[in-house]
Structure formats: structure tokens, C-alpha cells
Symmetry: C2
Subunit: 554 residues, 2 copies
């Protein structure tokens, strides 16, 4: 078997293996959408490729019963008018089963090389994928490029890297010799075969269709499984392009393209429940709402299930060095993609007695006021605002903003921002509401979108207790902590991390609690209800295959 692709990408793999050990910054995929890196016409070509997809059928040469689905609307205010083959579940499952043996029996290096090549091709298509992500999720262009392109590819590569390490952790063949008497010994030749678990289903979400799907997709594929990609009906295109690229690379290398198929459905006739519970499905990766994620965990009993759901994320203010640096950083975290990140802060806990800021006492109102002012400033320039905010992905989020304004004392109203290029874009600035600490019915639930609750607390311990209680009940994917005094900070860090909550302390400047870097940050801890898995560790990859042994006397 040719290991040519493995050899081509070996340096990338070796560097990735080093990166997951050092956990320093590293990426092979440039995050700057620059013509110098991606080619001078790359942006134009990518946009043209996106436009060429519109108002058409997106054909995929996979088993089909003939129907089509598709109703994506850009949050920037236009319909995509793309149709996809409607999912023929029996057909693609049968095809996936048929495709697996050849892939399963390929060398680990062959599968790894093919997956690395798919990632490389995805990288070259980053601008097209960015446009597809932008006009399905509502992300601003820069985020759509970075999170939808190179950062998603990083997460895919990270999963391939962990899986490669796991598959090669044991020798493929070993000799076992045991002395059984003074003169005799017995020798057995043992082979350890990697056997994939079964067909994998990857259920994508509407806000990060590639970033959240690539880890499961690549972890399952490289370990020998076929993968059925089930996009959210509102964000099909980025994953359809991904499937198309994966199928091309597989076919070019002599494998059955049906190792990766698209299973598109519509909101009216959803198929996820049927898909994830099919007996042929051995692995499910799910990203989405907690409610549906819990349904998947409870019902897809035949499969190993990895979930990334939602959380109620907190920012705890104990003390500050610099009010402006803090409020500016937080304002950006609240605003980035209109709070439609699973890592976005929701509840900001501030002591009602005020906060020590660089030795000076600031009242609760002064600190809350500074946050409001920082958000105001950030969105005072509409062209800057729309880039940061992006657009609101769903009607449900839009309605949620309206409803949340009744939850307490509105410190800052959410407002529309006009988008120069897309006048119909639904752009909203953050809503900031002051809510009493005894209104747990209000703030101890996930309010996805640009909704921030500022909650006066008795003390930092009070804030910690509320944060931990919310995480234990509803999950937490991030937590911001601001405490100047190192022992106090470390005590709080200790309490939070012991409770399974990942913490970012004293983030000011251009680093944000919402951001998690592949090869360094574990995304979702798996230690609270926000998800049962992390991107990426051995627990995320090792159960996707089994080792089956054969023994023969030597």
C-alpha cells in the first residue's frame, strides 16, 4: 500500500504530535485571510465559488431516493436557494457498510495520509468555506474564515493526531515468550488488529458547523469508520462542501467515496433521532442544544456518544487592576458573534458592595456602568460593530433577546445595527440586564445570544457558589475570573476547576475567554453537563476502534 500521502504530510503530523505535548501555540493552517498566503485571487475565487453554489442543486454522487431538501437563509438577509439530496438513510447506511472493509483494512498510515490530505484540501478552500459559514451561521467574515476554516482544520488535525497516536500506541505484531521450565519456553506470535467501531454519525450545529464537526468526523474516519455527516438544516453548505472534498480525496486514492456521506434533512422532517438510533451506527458525535443532546445520550444506546452541548457561563469579578482593560475585554467577549458562542459569558457576578480597582473602590454601579460603556463604544462605529457582532443565526435567538429584556432592570438595550453591504442583515448589539441573585429562575438557564445578566452578589464566595451550582446543573464551557490577589485568585481557580469548570483568569487585552486554541486548550471539559467529551484527548478517540487480537504459536 502506498504511503505517499502519509509521507507528504508527515512533517505536519510530527509537528502536531509535538504540539499536543508541548501545548504551545502551533498551527499549520494560516489564520490570516491573506492573498499572500492563500493566493492573490483566493478571496475572490472563494466568493465566486460560493455564489456559484447558490440557486442550484448541490449534487453528491451518493445513494439517493431522488428527493431534495434545502432552505438555508443567510442571517445577512437572503435565501441561499440551494437544494441537497434528501437523506436516503437505508441507502447511505448500506453504502457506508459496503465501503468500510477496504478502508478498515488499509494501513494506519494510509488512512492517516488520506485524512491529512483532506484537511490540506479543505485548507485551500478556506475562503469558499468561510463564505458558506458566514452565510449560514451569521458569523462576521473574519470569524467565519478563522473558526470555519483554519481553526476548524486545526481541530480536525488534532483529532487525527490523537487517533494516530492511539492506533500506533501498541505494536501491530509482537512475540511473546514465556519460560515454562528450566529448559523449555513457549513462543506465541500475536497480531493486534485495529477494528473500527461501526458507522459514525456526526450531528452538526447551526453556529459552528465545521469547527464542532471536524473533530468527530476525522477521529472516526481515520480510525476506519465510515462517517455520515448530518448537518443542521440551517447550516448545510459548509458541511456539504466538506463532504464533497472528503469524497474526492477518498475516491482519488482508490477508496469508496461513500465512506463520507451527507444526510441532509429539513426542520419539518428531521431524521437525526432515527439516524443516531439505527443499530448500524456505532459512534455519534453531537453538537447542539442540551435538551436534544441529552435525548441523544439517553437514546442512542447502541453507540458510543460524544456530546458538546451548552452551558451557563459566568464571569466573576473579585478585584481589578484596570477597569477599562477589564470592561473592554468583557465587552468584546459578550459581543463576539452576538454571544452565539458556546463559550460566551452570560452571567457577570459583581459584588454589590463594589470592587477594588487598583487600590481604588468602585461601586457596583460604576463597574456595571463601565461594562455598558465599553459595549456602547465597541458598537459606536457600525462598520466595526457588524464585523464583531455578525448576524443573528435564528429567529429563536432574536425572540429570546426580546423576552430577556423583561427579566430585570435593563442596563443596556439591544439595538439593531445597519449593515452597509447587507441591509437585511439581522444585527443586534448585546442586551445587558441587571438581575437579583435570588432570581436563579432567570439566570440559571442558558440564554443563547447577545444576552448578559449582571448579578450583584454578597461576596466572591457567593459568586463562586452560584457559578458552581449553575455549572453542576446546566454545565459550563468557560468561566472568566478577575481577582488581583494571587492567593485569592488561586483559591477561586481551585474551587472552580475542582468542579469541572475551565477558567480564564484576568483576561485583558487581545485574549478572550471565548477562544480555545487547538493543540493547547481542551474545549469542553466533559466534567460537567455541558458535554461528555472534550476536544481533544485520548478518551475522545480511543473508543472509536477496538483492538482484536490473534495468536499463533511461533
Amino acid at each position: 500500500m502506498s504511503h505517499a500521502l502519509f509521507d507528504t504530510h508527515k512533517k505536519t503530523l510530527d509537528d502536531a504530535r509535538a504540539a499536543i505535548k508541548s501545548r504551545d501555540f502551533w498551527s499549520p493552517y494560516a489564520e490570516i485571510p491573506s492573498g499572500k498566503i492563500y493566493g492573490e485571487t483566493a478571496k475572490k475565487d472563494g466568493l465566486a465559488a460560493f455564489e456559484a453554489r447558490r440557486n442550484k442543486r448541490f449534487d453528491i454522487d451518493q445513494p439517493s431516493a431522488g428527493g431534495t431538501v434545502g432552505g438555508e437563509c443567510s442571517p445577512y438577509g437572503f435565501a441561499l436557494n440551494i437544494t441537497y439530496p434528501a437523506c436516503d438513510l437505508d441507502g447511505i447506511i448500506t453504502a457506508a457498510q459496503g465501503a468500510m472493509p477496504g478502508w478498515r483494512d488499509a494501513d494506519i498510515e494510509v488512512r492517516t495520509g488520506v485524512c491529512l490530505e483532506i484537511l490540506h484540501r479543505l485548507n485551500k478552500r478556506s475562503f469558499e468555506i468561510a463564505a458558506a459559514v458566514m452565510h449560514t451561521t451569521g458569523q462576521g467574515f473574519m470569524m467565519a474564515f478563522q473558526a470555519g476554516g483554519p481553526h476548524a482544520q486545526d481541530r480536525g488535525l488534532e483529532a487525527v493526531t490523537y487517533a494516530y497516536e492511539e492506533m500506533t500506541r501498541h505494536p501491530r505484531e509482537a512475540t511473546w515468550t514465556k519460560r515454562v521450565s528450566k529448559t523449555d519456553s513457549i513462543t506465541i506470535t500475536k497480531k493486534y488488529r485495529i477494528v473500527p467501531r461501526g458507522i459514525a454519525a456526526v450531528v452538526g450545529c447551526s453556529t459552528f458547523p465545521t469547527w464542532n464537526s471536524y473533530p468527530g468526523l476525522f477521529a472516526s474516519l481515520v480510525t476506519g469508520n465510515a462517517v455520515i455527516v448530518k448537518p443542521h438544516p440551517g447550516a448545510v453548505l459548509p458541511l456539504a462542501i466538506t463532504v464533497e472534498i472528503a469524497r474526492s480525496v477518498l475516491a482519488e486514492n482508490g477508496f469508496d467515496a461513500n465512506l463520507v456521506t451527507l444526510s441532509a434533512d429539513s426542520g419539518d422532517a428531521p431524521i437525526t433521532k432515527e439516524l443516531v438510533c439505527r443499530p448500524e451506527i456505532g459512534i455519534v458525535d453531537y453538537t447542539g442544544s442540551s435538551e436534544f443532546g441529552e435525548w441523544v445520550e439517553d437514546n442512542a444506546r447502541q453507540a458510543v456518544v460524544f456530546t458538546e452541548k451548552a452551558g451557563v457561563n459566568a464571569t466573576i469579578v473579585d478585584s481589578l487592576d484596570d477597569l477599562k482593560a477589564f470592561s473592554g475585554n468583557l465587552a468584546f467577549s459578550l459581543s463576539l458573534y452576538s454571544g452565539q458562542m458556546c463559550t460566551a459569558p452570560q452571567n457577570v457576578f459583581i459584588p454589590k458592595s463594589g470592587v477594588d480597582v487598583g487600590g481604588e473602590h468602585k461601586s457596583f454601579d460604576e463597574v456595571a456602568g463601565a461594562i455598558v460603556k465599553a459595549v456602547d463604544w465597541l458598537h459606536s462605529d457600525a462598520s466595526r460593530a457588524v464585523e464583531i457582532l455578525g448576524a443573528i443565526q435564528s429567529d429563536a435567538t432574536l425572540k429570546r433577546i426580546g423576552a430577556a429584556a423583561g427579566d430585570g432592570e435593563v442596563l443596556r438595550q439591544s439595538e439593531s445595527v445597519a449593515h452597509a453591504q447587507f441591509p437585511e442583515a439581522r444585527v443586534r448589539t448585546p442586551l445587558i440586564v441587571k438581575v437579583d441573585a435570588d432570581r436563579q429562575d432567570v439566570f440559571m438557564r442558558e440564554m443563547f445570544g447577545p444576552i448578559t445578566y449582571i448579578i450583584p452578589t454578597e461576596s466572591t464566595d457567593h459568586a463562586l457558589a452560584l457559578t458552581i451550582a449553575a455549572a453542576q446543573r446546566h454545565g459550563a464551557i468557560s468561566c472568566g475570573l478577575y481577582a488581583v490577589d494571587a492567593p485569592k485568585r488561586d483559591k477561586a481557580l481551585d474551587a472552580l476547576t475542582a468542579s469541572g469548570i475551565p477558567v480564564s483568569a484576568n483576561f485583558c487585552g487581545p485574549i478572550y475567554v471565548n477562544q480555545n486554541a487547538a493543540f493547547s486548550d481542551f474545549h469542553v471539559t466533559g466534567a460537567n453537563p455541558a458535554g461528555n467529551a472534550t476536544f481533544c484527548d485520548a478518551a475522545f478517540v480511543a473508543p472509536r476502534f477496538r483492538i482484536v487480537e490473534s495468536r499463533i504459536p511461533a
Copy 2:
């Protein structure tokens, strides 16, 4: 924190780390019950210690509501008359929760050192544990010593080794530096904390109480979890001694002994269902029947569940080099501990048209007859027979032998064997029944105990199809394959391993399909319904803890 115990046992750990990579034979715990190794009085002392346990309360200084349970009877024909503290579930769960923080926060090296010391102490007590295993499970002395003592300790050490590798795979702290402009970079210090999943419940079985429980016990303990050990009511003593030793070592090293507790119950008032479903339980390790194991998998939804259940194991005869070598090997595998091993063969598939034996044709009846004869010979000497057979652990197995005699044409009746030392011992030789291949209702179910079905088949492909079908429906933990022609053998090996069935090919002489060596053989593949986990791989240890990150700007 003192790493003294880690340093003491570091060479053992280093050697174990090398062994799981080379997968050659290795063990630090001598399997020969020799006075030269274990001390000249070790055997006598161990037996005396066992006798001293009898007719008494087995006190454990753990939370108790005051009651006692205990009704173990030796399969060799006497009651143990030992009582244990009845499980006070609320009490031990609360105590386990209270015990965890100090253990969780100890260095990885401290926890690892303590676990290695527990294993070392268990090893020194191997004779006492052997007696306890023998007189609860019915194993012959040699097996009780080896499988109950050093081999079980090997499996515990293997789990500690995998868990240590997994916990130290990532650095505990890292520096992440990213260039953000031509002149500026940002640097973040990251800490990665190991957070245990929660209290672990280890549910033991009646036949291999230590061998099957140590992997889960040690994997959970070393990763920072408290462990509640739930023995089978028929085999409490080996695990009670284990718990006692673990508690001593923990306490001696300044940890709360309630990190390891015993939860004994009775057949009349079982507590396993309640225990494994308690919300405080984060991990369940289960060994036992498929039916109850499936109940645990389906119901202990709050926990990560590892199961080792049962299978329908086959021996497939295609062709042979030497009939006597084959039949002698198989006779021993069928007889060892009266087939009460989860790895024991049950269904022997022989072509109805006969078998090529070293170029000579032997009829079905000749091959079946050779197996019967080999079993007869093995048990023609009662003193040898009782050592190999041990005694029948449960009444249910005894009844099963009787019932199975009606399943087809009896080729060999099961018979009692008189035990010179224990006249009341229930010792039975294997029952061998010829069953038609269309009687899947008979042989496609697990018949635990000394029951063998010999099934005439159309061809080797027919035997493979039946074996794979049985494994896919009911699981398989071992499979013997006899095929002289290498290409034919490899084709069969390929078909079987692709179906998740581990295979031992052409075993003759003193190596048996039933035996799986730690550090080399993966026990239970996890790729068929016989269990969802294996001893031992990363998937067995990695989900027992989570990595929770904290980030601070440098």
C-alpha cells in the same frame, strides 16, 4: 508531597510501561506458589490467615448502619461463616465523597505510588487470597493462587500503568505564546488539572473476584476516584481482604481509608441496582452475566460503564497436524475450572465430512471421539482431575449440567469426582453433547460450566458463519481455530477478527485459549456484545478522569 512510594516502585512501573509497549511476557509478581519466593512459611501462614477469618465477623472500620451479611459456602463443601458489615449505602457514599478531595489533589506520583504499594502488599498476601478465592469460587488451588493472586495483581498493575501514562501524557503546566503582530505577542500560562470523574463502583463476580475487579478498582483509584467495591455475595472474602489491605495502605500514607470501601449485600436483598444508579456514582465496572450487565449499561446512565459480560465461545476445526495434541489441548481448555471461565470454549465445530489430520482423513466421529477420550484420560486420575476441575461454584451451574444432557446426543456424561481432602466438594467432569447445526436454539446461548457442544458442520465457512453469528448476537471472549493451511488459516483469522472475535490458532501443548496474559493480551475486545471494554487500553482508563484547564496571562 512525598514521592517515596513512587520511587520505591518506580522500576516496576517503568518495566510495566515497557511491557505494554513490547507486549512480550513480563510480570513482577511470581506465579509459582513457591516458598523460596514468597517465604518458606507463606503457604502455611496464608492458609492459617484464611482459617482465622472463618466463623467470625470481618470488621471494616467504615460507615455502617450496624447490620451484617454473609453466607459464603465453599464449593468444596463447607460454610465459611463469615459476616461482613451490611452495606450502608448513604454512609459509604458520603464518606467516599469526603475522602476524595485530599486524594484528588495529591500528585499523580503520590497516588500512583500508593496504588503500587497496595499491589505489592496484595502480592505478599497471595496465599491468603488464594485460599479465599479457592473457597468462594471453587477454583483449584493452583488457579486460585495464580489467577486470584499474581495474575490479578498483574491486571491491576497494568491498569495503573495505562492510567499513569494517560495522566502524564499532557504536561501539568504549559506556556502558550502567540505572535499577534510584527512586534507583539501574547503569552498565557496554562494549567491542566486531573479531575476524577466521581465515585466508582466495582461490581465483582463469583468466579474471578479479584482478577476481574482489580483493573477497574486500580484504574479508578489511581485517577483520583474513591472506589466502592461490591462483591458477589458468593465471593466476598477475596475482595474484603483486598479492601482491607487498600485501606491500610491509604491510611498509612495519610489518606482517608474510605477511599476504598466494601459494599456487601445478600442474594435476598441485593443492592447493586441501587448502587450503580446513584447520582454520586460516576464510574461503574461490572463483571458478570450478560443479562445483568445489559441492565447496568441501560440503567446506570449517569456513569461511564465498563462491562465484561459473557460470550458463546467456539472452537473451529478445519484441519489438524496431530489429533492427540489437539484433543489433549482442547480437553484441558474444556476442563480447566470446569468451564467456569468466560474464555472457556463451548461450541466445537467439526466438519461432518471429517478432517484432514496430517494428510490422513479422520471422520467426524473419530475427531469427536478423540476429544472425549482426551477428557476421559485427563480425569482418569482423581487427584489430577480435582486440581484441574476445581469445584462447581453455584447450584445454577450444577443444574445447568443436568439440563444440558437433554440437548442432544450425549457423547460423554458429566460425572462426579471424589475429592480426597474435601469429600463434600461438588466436582464434575465435562459433559459433551453432539448437537445438530440447525439447533441454534441450543448452542447459540451461553451454557456456563462444564458443558461442551460438538456440532457437525458442512464446511469451515459454515463453522465461521455460525461462530460469527453467535458472537454478534451473544458475544465471544475467545475462539480456537485449527487450520493447517496457512492461507486458509489467515483467511479465517481475518473473518473472525474483523467481526471483533479474538482468535487463538492451532494451540497445542501448554498454551490454552482460555488464558490471557496481562501486558500482552487484550481481554475481551469490546467489539462484540461480550463486553464494552477491554483489559486494558486507553479507552479503559482515559474516561475515568477529565482534564480541566485554567489560563492566566503570563
